[in-house]
Structures are given as structure tokens and as C-alpha cells.
Symmetry: D2
Subunit: 346 residues, 4 copies
Amino acid sequence: MIRAGIIGSTGYAGAEIVRLLLGHKETEIKWYGSRSYIDKKYSSVYQNMFRLVEDVCRDDNMEELAREVDVIFTATPQGLCASLVNEEILSRVKIIDLSADFRIKDPAVYEAWYKIHHPAPELIPEAVYGLCEINREDIKKARLTANPGCYTTCSILSAYPLVKEGLIDGNTLIVDAKSGTSGAGRGAKVDNLFCEVNESIKAYGVATHRHTPEIEEQLSYAAGKPVTISFTPHLVPMNRGILVTAYASLTREAGEEELRAAYEKYYGGEKFIRLLDPEVCPQTRWVEGSNFVDLNIKLDKRTNRVIMMGALDNLVKGAAGQAVQNMNLMFGLPEDMGLQMAPVFP
Amino acid sequence: MIRAGIIGSTGYAGAEIVRLLLGHKETEIKWYGSRSYIDKKYSSVYQNMFRLVEDVCRDDNMEELAREVDVIFTATPQGLCASLVNEEILSRVKIIDLSADFRIKDPAVYEAWYKIHHPAPELIPEAVYGLCEINREDIKKARLTANPGCYTTCSILSAYPLVKEGLIDGNTLIVDAKSGTSGAGRGAKVDNLFCEVNESIKAYGVATHRHTPEIEEQLSYAAGKPVTISFTPHLVPMNRGILVTAYASLTREAGEEELRAAYEKYYGGEKFIRLLDPEVCPQTRWVEGSNFVDLNIKLDKRTNRVIMMGALDNLVKGAAGQAVQNMNLMFGLPEDMGLQMAPVFP
Amino acid sequence: MIRAGIIGSTGYAGAEIVRLLLGHKETEIKWYGSRSYIDKKYSSVYQNMFRLVEDVCRDDNMEELAREVDVIFTATPQGLCASLVNEEILSRVKIIDLSADFRIKDPAVYEAWYKIHHPAPELIPEAVYGLCEINREDIKKARLTANPGCYTTCSILSAYPLVKEGLIDGNTLIVDAKSGTSGAGRGAKVDNLFCEVNESIKAYGVATHRHTPEIEEQLSYAAGKPVTISFTPHLVPMNRGILVTAYASLTREAGEEELRAAYEKYYGGEKFIRLLDPEVCPQTRWVEGSNFVDLNIKLDKRTNRVIMMGALDNLVKGAAGQAVQNMNLMFGLPEDMGLQMAPVFP
Amino acid sequence: MIRAGIIGSTGYAGAEIVRLLLGHKETEIKWYGSRSYIDKKYSSVYQNMFRLVEDVCRDDNMEELAREVDVIFTATPQGLCASLVNEEILSRVKIIDLSADFRIKDPAVYEAWYKIHHPAPELIPEAVYGLCEINREDIKKARLTANPGCYTTCSILSAYPLVKEGLIDGNTLIVDAKSGTSGAGRGAKVDNLFCEVNESIKAYGVATHRHTPEIEEQLSYAAGKPVTISFTPHLVPMNRGILVTAYASLTREAGEEELRAAYEKYYGGEKFIRLLDPEVCPQTRWVEGSNFVDLNIKLDKRTNRVIMMGALDNLVKGAAGQAVQNMNLMFGLPEDMGLQMAPVFP
């Protein structure tokens, strides 16, 4: 039985880790961390867990945690995980960090986009970027996994095969992404009130969103050369879900069949990636509550561009589900353990 | 392995049976019935099932079905199940009917409220009303189970302990119920279009809704005498969930403690019924996707009335989940098999 | 030209007063009060007013305001208006208070339900309860009008004719009310975040909501004797709208025709009250953005109860629209000036 | 007083024309056309119009209509207007066609994208494309105005100044558009049911949507040469609103100031176009119910692309509001008559 601790268990992503681990038969949650709700019953913060979780919330003591559990999930704002983790801790416990702290290899890039000093740059090299379908073998050996961002997972997986195969020019890539509101977190802000979000859509963080360098770094590895993209996130009046619509120019003539073949090549054996039938557009409702990513493409011969589409549940494959998938890999468990649930509709 | 057939598998309730049975380790779905989509791939109708269900939809042939499966779920409009079932079929297969056909013991009442002739009144006596927490022992022995309506389940469970104990006067009972839109089904009607439902709330079927006699019959059994109630359903702009707010006058002086004790008496050991802590109001979001019913009461000393509140997911405990719970009972399986999922939030 | 000042202009109700007065040809807004946004451009707080309002927000200085304007709207939490207003101010300016401070005639009742000391009980007697259709003549002469609550307006108007005519027993009245989320205000609270409200419905303030004594007081006047009711508010995932479903027992035999005649008697000439055709249930979407209240009733002969239904826009007839209607009455303008807009749908 | 007739008055766009004309003091609606609801009271189809509209719906008889009214709005599917209109009719009445029939100058392009034969190509040359801010002078003289599509209006207005000034390369233009569900019309289709749209987002009509050639034609006029774009519409779970996020490469170095100056140049005097302050992103909620288009741009120096954003209400500026604006121009009325309403929020 794997003993798990969650730092930040009362945010939406942390709470989703709780939900998933409750259905994971080889894991037991030993520590519900939440600085905001110390000593409060977890189920009074998330009433859905009434009678399912009897624990109270505890402070973020990583030292103590490292002695009590086998794996720590940090579902906290950037900066926290990197400020707490060290070699001593890593020698005793595996860490899956859902923040951005260890996603970007170049600390200067991290600091430029996040505007904070990185407190543990010496640990960056060993951290593995936890995009399971791309870095599976490295994740299996990792002590410290950087769980990818929600937009990032969807964006990278949507474009990866075509970039990797050199079929599209990465520098023409434009990612127009749309997210449900749980991605904005559970903080009490006017901008996230029901009446402000409902019946509206907007772009935000235009040309400055922090997931941009993360997408660029991973696609640059795939391309074998630097890739600079445009990325625009949007807020959609729904709870869950990310939809990516991405555009890029082909590097040479290619038919839709050939493009689809690239997806089959890289994802053909992947349980959690579904390449939809031709002409079927991904929709977030078809993946809600599950760890699936639905993908499809459309070739526009008039413009010689390919439109790539991807949909996932931002709290599952975009956060907690991928974190559990990473945990399974890191502990040698079947990769889909605790993640077999079908999408919930409607 | 129980072989299951679903007649009406492409309605919302039928599709939820599919979702639940995919996660039920002792059941295998052998027949996806859908008169509207015969020969179409099931996963093209419900894209969430892409790569999870490879079957095509089949016609409603109960004769043939009865030879191929162990249990048939009928998730169809009233009148269909009763017109297909007979002694011969019941001798070979167990039936869980999600329609109203076998819920009401008096065919005259059925015909008065549903405006259709009952085609198989001779089978009504043996049908068991499948409200698991009330009729558990009878369900275990049933061949034909009448799965309760969504409003009904929530209304009865909310009021049952107080009626049974004689603490409230059933004839003062007023049930004001609110439902998510999936309760209206997947039929293409203007009234259920997004723009018609969104940003609105309305009552409908006022004083004439067909779930009324069903609630009355069951509460009359509990009271040991006829009970006549007011019942008003409302349509709420959300996908899932039923909330019941019910009002009744106390028959004698009683404190909230004593009232709560009645709930503990009948539901204390029930896994799927959660009596919330005092002052916590049930909310549909805390039960979504799960088989839970959350209940609570509030005593209003100013008016000597008790306000009973209940919340459930209309597609789970209000339909498919209860149907699976019934199946588990009828086949001697653990009652919660395939139903352990925690509620999904947000 | 009436010069108007708004204290609390950046709450949802205050902002709706702004919207309505911009379309009112005899009024000019001279003061956008907002303690939270002093010196900020109003249109940066409400971007819909970009280029329509050039003013900046100002502090709540009622003394100064009273010298500059003809009417003050106070759209603030309870306690503020009563702490600022005095005889001197009332001698110079008319006040329409959207808070609860002057709605209830007995300060002890106010203090019992609101848990605050009333700072100006000496002004309560002269304050007029601003339910235009009931107190029109008194409002015309008022210096200080207490604008009714949103739930209250809908509840009272739904039941008033039957109470007034003695056709229902007020003590059997149960009001089950449902509100859009703008009624909860623009404060940054977790409970009002999009993900918390969306896809859910709940009751709150059960048996303790502060609009209860206000409804009781007004219906007691109508009945000519004390009336005690049950009132339960609910939060609905939509921006605007209140729906009331109310239940009461008839005091004597009466047909639906006779009941409808009571509504015609009191509301037959009312522009803003629409008694719908028989069997048509009010829906909030049909009044959104307008000052209408849609009403209807249904007689349930089985239980001898009448079900009264009412729908209004909580920010218009439930707040700002009624405030403007009161202003029109107080200044001798046509009662519907600036309020002729048709409901917006969808 | 202008007498108006509306063919297709019971669709969402037609109903919005009704709402706007009720508030237009120089117009009177004489004919509520609706083939689906002939002889039914209009207010029974749109209950918001109860007591505001007493007329019944009538058939689509353009001959008769032309004798009774001064202007006809056709808010019907493509093909209908062109099949009814002729020189005789145009000699007696002005026509504002909200369908696509007369938007595209080349009938071959129309037929290629719409897959129907154009029944009146001889009238295409005289039809004026009714994008008021671009073609104002021509519209004033028009007998037949082709009211632009909703996506089109938003897309063209967002990009026009930069295309016109040659600051962006039209062939690099990618328009990612998001629409509320009223754009899908009031037809009873499963895809538009509440439960199908709610909690989801999807792209549709990828690389094949019919508004594409309309955008291309108008931007080609602006560019002075053929422009081919990528256009992707998305369905968003909200009633109203279109948001456009458009991307294009600069043709030469330019700062954000210079780009903004282009917008000021073309739109500086426009009442209904609001160029927001720098860094403020358009949101559909800030224009809802009004005739405004909110625009802004962001220069991304890393990619040398400019991101253009536009928001409008698809039923107002994207349909009925623009139609009324066109009517005002065609009849010599103030352009904003009946269109001064402030946006409704929340």
C-alpha cells in the first residue's frame, strides 16, 4: 500500500487527487495538507467527501510528511514546492509537483515568466517532465516529477506528432485554448464569481501566459530546434475541460491520411489518447471526469494549414489524473490503475 | 458474470446504466438496445464511450434478449416494458424496469395519471417497488423490479422516517422539487434547448405531475393510512441533480434531536444515505455522479413545521445507480458493487 | 432634470440603477458612490459602461450629496443608510433606500432578525414601504422610501390578492423561493464562485432568512391580522431572476376563476404585473431585464390548496427597477418612465 | 412612422428584431411572419412579449407584405429571401435580408459554400453589404441590404483597420471565433439541447464554415487583393455573444501604438465600436443586449504577430441590431435610433 500525502489538498486540483486516490486500490492518503484549513475536517471543506474522508487538514510540513509517506503531491502555487524540497527529502520520498517549479529546465526562463526567484535550481536537472505518453521511461525512474500544466498537456499532445515528424513548422504554431473555470482555482476573487464568468467568454494573459514557455520547451525537444509559438488562453463558463484549437502550416505537401498516421505512430498504443474518427471534433463533455485526451485534425487545403484539436478534463489528465498516472509509473504499478473510469455525460 | 441487456440504452438514463456497468466487475453488457439508432455504433451516439464500447445498437426484441442475458434494464417511456414482458420472459430473465409501468399497485391510478391503458396488470402484484433502503428484502427475491422515479426517490427518502414514525401529518406534506435538465430526456424539443433552459427556472406539471401518486402510495404504506400531498417539480439550468425541499406540520411537539433520531433509526446503517450535520443544507453538487442521497432537516418552531431537504443525482440514485443497486440485491452481490465512486466536484 | 446620487453604485443593484437611469430621460446621475473604488473610473469597474459613463467613483458623503442632488439611492448593506440619514438631510433630498433599514416598522423585529442595533428608529414611522402597486399613494408623498427586498416583492405580490380577499389562510402559507446568483452580491466569497454555484442548487437560510418578517408584516396588513409563514430561499445557477412557488390552503371553497378574479381586482390596471393565461407557468427568462412580474395560480382540488407562482428579475423589479418606479412616483413623473424595456430573451 | 414586416419573426434573430423595434419610436411592426406558427399569438411563442404584442403570426407572403409595409426584414434560412424578392417588390419596399443570399457577390462562391442554386443572381449586384461602419454611404441609398453574418461582423471589424492599412498580411490571418448558442437557432435538434451544450465547448464546421468566404470577400476589398483565411467557429455554453480572437503576422515592424492608431483612424467616430484601453480584453458580457462591438489588440513581439480581439452580441450587432442600424440609414433616421440601450450586466 502506497502512503500518499497531499500538500494543497483543498484546492480544486488537490481535491481531485483525493477523489482519484479514494478509488485507487493500492494507495492510502495519510496527510491532507491545507494551510487555509488546518484542523478543520476535510469533509467540511469538500462536503462531497462527507463520510468518505474522516481526516482533518494539516499544515504543510514536508519534513514530517517525508517520514510518514511514500509519495507527496504538491498541488500548490509556484514557488512552494521548490522552497521545501531538498536532497534529504528526496532520499526518502517521491515527489510529484503539480506546480510549475520543476517544469522548465532553464531557471532564467522560469524567473522571466513567473517573476519569482527559483529557490532550488540545483534540483531542476534531475526533475522529469511528467508527460507520461512522451517521457514514460524517464518517469519510471524519477524521484521528482514535474506534473505538466493543464493547457500544456493538451497543447503539446495535440501538436507533438506533427512537430516530431517535421510535418508542421513549429514557428507557425498558434494555440488558441479554452478552459473551464476550475482552472482558475478556488480563491475568492471577483473575477471568478458566478455572475462574472457565466454568460461570457474572454481571452486573458494574451501573449504573456506562463504555460507558453513550457509548451515551447517540450515542442522544441520534439522539433530538435527552438520553437516559438503564439498561445492564447480563454475562460469558458463551464466547470471543467480544456479545448485546444491549434493551427500550423505544413512544411510540405501531405494528405490528412499521412497526418493521421503520425498520430497513430506515436499514440497508437496509448490508452488515454483517443484519435477520433475523421470529421469528429473533440468536445470537452466527452472526456469529463476521465483521464482521456481526445484528439483530431483537419487539413485545410485552401490555406495549407492543419487545424489540430484536443480536449481533456483539466482536473484529470490536466492535473490530478496525470499525477496519479505518474505515480503509477514511478511505483511500478499498472499505468491505468485508479484511472479506468469512463467519462461522465451529461 | 451477469449478462445484461439494456432496452433504451441511448437515453440519458440508459447511457448512465452503461457507464455504471462498465465499472461493475461482475457484469457484462450484451445488448445495447435503441430503436432510434439500430445498427449504429453506440460510441457514435455517445462519444464518451469511444473505444470503451465497440457494440452497435440493436432493436428492442425482448424475446431474443431473454434468451441471451440474465437481466434486462428497460429505460424506456411508460407502456413499453409492460407491453413486452410476460410470464415466459420472467421465467428466464430478471427485469428492472425504469419506467413507471410497475410502480403503482392500482392500475386505475396508473391509468388516471398516465392516460394509457396498462397492458399487463396481471404482473403488477408480483413487481417489487425497487426503493432499496425501504424494500431491500423483497427486492432480493424479485423477478420484476419497478425502479422508482427520480423525484420519487428523493421525495420519499426525505420524508419517510418522519411519516413512518408518525411525527408529521402526511396530509400537510408539500414537496417542492427541483431537477436538472437531464431528467427531461434526450428528445429534441424546443423547450429543452440550451437557450430555453439556461438562465431560467420554472415550475411545470403543477398539481398534475405523474410522480405524485407514486410518492403518495409509498408514503401511505409508511403512514399506514392514505396520504395526499402537494408536489411541484421545477426545471433548473443544470445537467444533473434533484433537490427536494419538503414541508410538513408536526403531529406533536418534538425537538430537532428527536426528528434526527428518526432518520438515524431508519438510515443509520445505510451506505448511500448521508444525514448531514445540523445546519448543513444538501446541495446537488455534493452528490453528483454518485449514488448518495444527502438529507437534512430543519425544525421551524415559529410555524411548527419541519423542512426536509434531500439531494441526489437524478441519473444515479434517481435512475441508473438505483437500478444497479437493485441488480446487486437481486443477484446476491454486495449492494454497493460498482457504486463506490465518490461524487465528482466541481 | 432630476439629479441623482447613488451610494453603493458598484454593487450589482447599484449598477443596475446606473443602467436604468442612463435610459431615463428626466434623470442625470451626479454621484457614483463606491467606498471600495474611490477615485477609480466607474467604467473600469463595470466595463459595459465604457464610453457611457466617464465619472469616477466617490466616497459615501451623504451630507455633501444632499446638497448636490435631488434623490439619493442607497444600495448598500443594512445599517448604512440608517446611520447616515437624518431630518436635516431629509429636508433637502429624497431618499430611496434599497437596504432593509426602513422596511420593518417594529425596530425590535428588525434587530432580532438582522442582529444589529437600529441607528435611527425615529425615522421609521415616516418611511414608506415602496411596493408601488400596493402603496402607490403613500409613496407619492414620501421623503424616505424603503425599497422592498427582491424575494419580498415577488412573494408578496404573488399572494397579496388572495390574502387580502381572505381566500387563503395566511398561516398556511409556504413560500419556496428560488433566486439567481446576482442576489448574493458582488463580494468575493468562495460560496459564490462560478464552480461552486454552477451545476448545483441548494436551500439556505432555512427558517431564518431576513426577508421573512418583511413578507409577514406586509401580508399581515393585507390580512388584517398577524400572519406567520414559512419561507425558504434557494440559490440557482443563473445570473438573474426570482421564482416564487407558494402554497396555501383555501379558507372556503372557491374555483380557479374566482381566485383569478382576485388578481384582476388588484392588478387589473397594473402595467408591470402580468397575470398569465391559465396553465401558463411563470418563468424567469420571460421577465429578464424588465420591470415585469409574471404571476399565475393553480388550484389543486385534491389538496384544497392553491399554488401561487411569481417571477421577476431580482435586479429590476426586485431592486433597481422598483427603485426607479418609486422615484417616478415621488417626483410626479409617469410611473413607467425609463422602465418600458421589453424583457430580453434569450 | 415606418411600417415594418418581419419574415421569420419567431426565430431568435427575428424575435430580437421585434424586441428592438418595440423600443424604436419611428417604427411600427405590421406583420409578424412565421410559417411555423401561422395564426398563433406571437406572445404565446415568445412569452416575454405577453401584453406587449397582441398580433398573431402570419404566413410569408412577400407580395402582400410589400403592399402593406415600408421595410421587410427577412430573418430566414438562406435561399428564401432570394426566392421571393424581385424587381417589382423592390420597387415598393426596402428589404433587409439577414440571410446569406445577397452577401456574396459571386454566385459561384455562394453556391459552392451553401450547396444551393441562387434563385435571383440578377439582384446581387445592387445589393449592398450592410456592414454599417464600412459601407455607410452605400447603405443609405440601398433598396436591398444584405445584413452581415454574426461571426462575419465580428471578424471583419476586428481585422479591418490593419488589413486596410496593409499592416498585416491577410493570408496569415487566422480567426478563432466563439459563439453563444442562440447562434444555432431555435430549431429542435439534439445537438442544441441544454445537456449537450452545457458544460462543453467544441469547434465545428472546421475549414468549411460558410461565413469564411464572406469574411474573405470583405477583407479582400480592404486589402485590395485576394485574401484567404482560416476560420474556426466554436460553440460556447452561453446564450449570447461572439468573441473573436484573430492572429496575423505584421507586414513590417510596427508598435502597438501605431496599430491602435489604425483603429482610431477608421473607428474613432463610430458610436458602436469601442476600442478598449490597452491591456483590457473584450468580454462578451460587457456588450450583451447592446449594439456595441468591443475591440482590442495585443502585439506579440516574440512572434511578430498581432492578436486582434472582438466581442459583440450575436443577436444585436451580429443580427437584429445591425439590421435596425441599416434600416435607420436607409430611411434617413439617426443611425442609433432604438439602439441606445446600455449593455445588460450581469
